[in-house]
Amino acid sequence: MPYDIPSARALIRETEVHRDIYTSPEVFDLEMKHVFGNAWVYVGHASQIPAMGDFITTTTGVTPVVMVRRGDGGISVLYNRCPHKGTRVANELCGNAGRFFRCPYHAWSFRLDGSIAAIPMPEAYARTEFKGSEAAKGMTPVAAVHVYRDFVFARLAAEGIGFEDFFGDSLSSLDNMVDRSPVGRLEVAGGVLRYLHHCNYKMLMENLTDTCHPMVAHESSAGTAVAVWNTMPPGTPKHPAVEIYAPFMSSYQAFDSMGVQVWPNGHGHTGVSHSIHSDYSAIPGYYEQMVAAHGEEKARRILDTNRHNTAYFPNMTMKGPIQALRIFKPIAADKTMVESWTFRLVGAPDKLLERTLMYSRLINAPTSPVGHDDLEMYERAQDALHADGNVWINTQRNYDPGETPEDTAVTNGTTERQMRNQLRAWKKFMAERVVA
């Protein structure tokens, strides 16, 4: 069925949403253009490109971009296509371009801000009004880039909501992750796990604040881990993986008491008062480093904030307490690339990196039992949503008729409020232009 902006927006009701937002290629195309055009989308981390000419290639929505470190130390995000015939200019996931990008097709070369440095045989354009062409602008920079504590975000729309207005207080989760480094700095470390999902990316976004599924869908993995652990002889030293698995089996009441916070523009997080990450064993020496860096009171405040998952609309989530970030890259309505990134807290013990890597390997890798549990649910839904008998998905748990898209609120932990919050933001950003 053909969709336009108004009919796509009508797919979102207060407490139910139409399945076409997960299955329809037409809705997907509109969403890529408008939602991912108007929103601020996470691109990458500055530590991935420390030196001049360093680049990474990625996508914002389905748009290929390259993020590169310029000679002046700044960061550019360019559409990764040659202005001549459209060839992708930077091809590796990461690399170094030197002082110029050079297109491999006809050797046009570009400065690191995208402007044209040279074209072979320029005299061939001398009498052609080339200066007025689209191509003369070089590799097009995306409209807006903002670097927040080394996290790089881009907005494709030329006019739109500002970075601060878009994220507001939700940046407190990013702050907490960065503040956990004694020197206030993170570095991407340990490689990236890439996991292909045959489902819509929004299923992952919604699942990340779905606290009523772990004790059910993950009983197979976390429940088994606990059961196997309980057969070990008493006194066996605590296994770090069991510390990671066991909290997934927390009760409904436990998750409910952890709380959910929502912010405007679709951001929110689980684990307000405490979370599944609260009770990990202390890592020797780390607390002392934090006290030395920040003083006791501030160190405590930082380390006692153990938010579970923070969902940054439209497609990024992160866990401050274990320094992990995931990005759900849409490929098609029914196809998503899930990337799990991990960070080193600069100046902190290696053990922290070791733990975040173990967490990602056990929970978020293509080889993770917990990942298998979740993906099974997404893929079953992606298939079964084609059932025409009922085309609506229910998001009503703990609905309060007073909810608005601009709310900042803390609620009980098993609500579907944050899912509604994301879907309302989707409706808001499904527009020609969103300026505030």
Binding site: G191, A217, S220, Y245, R361, P366
Partner: protein
Amino acid sequence: MITDQDLIGFVLHEARLIDEQRFEEWLDLFAEDGRYWMPLEMGQTDPILHNSLFYDDKLLLRIRVERLKGAKTYSQKPKSRCHHLMQAPLVEARDDATGEYATWAAFHYVETRLDEQTLYAGWSRHSLVLIDGRLKIKLKRVDLVNCDSAFGNIQLFM
């Protein structure tokens, strides 16, 4: 006395136990401090501060094996099946004095579930050790030829 043929036979038998889903017997092949490692990077040397697809000790392997047979393991309803095609393993190193041996084998591996079948190719390296007269796996390292690709579910063992 362990012959080369014993070592080769061990590696082939190990793959067969996986294909036949005789996981209890398979787990039994691992030394108590044995590991199953599948790196994420070509030539990876560090399993601790660089991530891997698998870096399981015996407890983690046991959790996986128990999970595969669990009544509430929905990603195994229906079950996956797998198939190894092994090149003849080579004995890479042997030390009869310490009872330590190393083998290398190239393989193709197919994992299938429902109507999907996925082919993987790689090399497995076994570090074996003689304990109480029985060969045990100290480390099974599996290097996929496309270890840095994005994958869908890998639910069984290579």
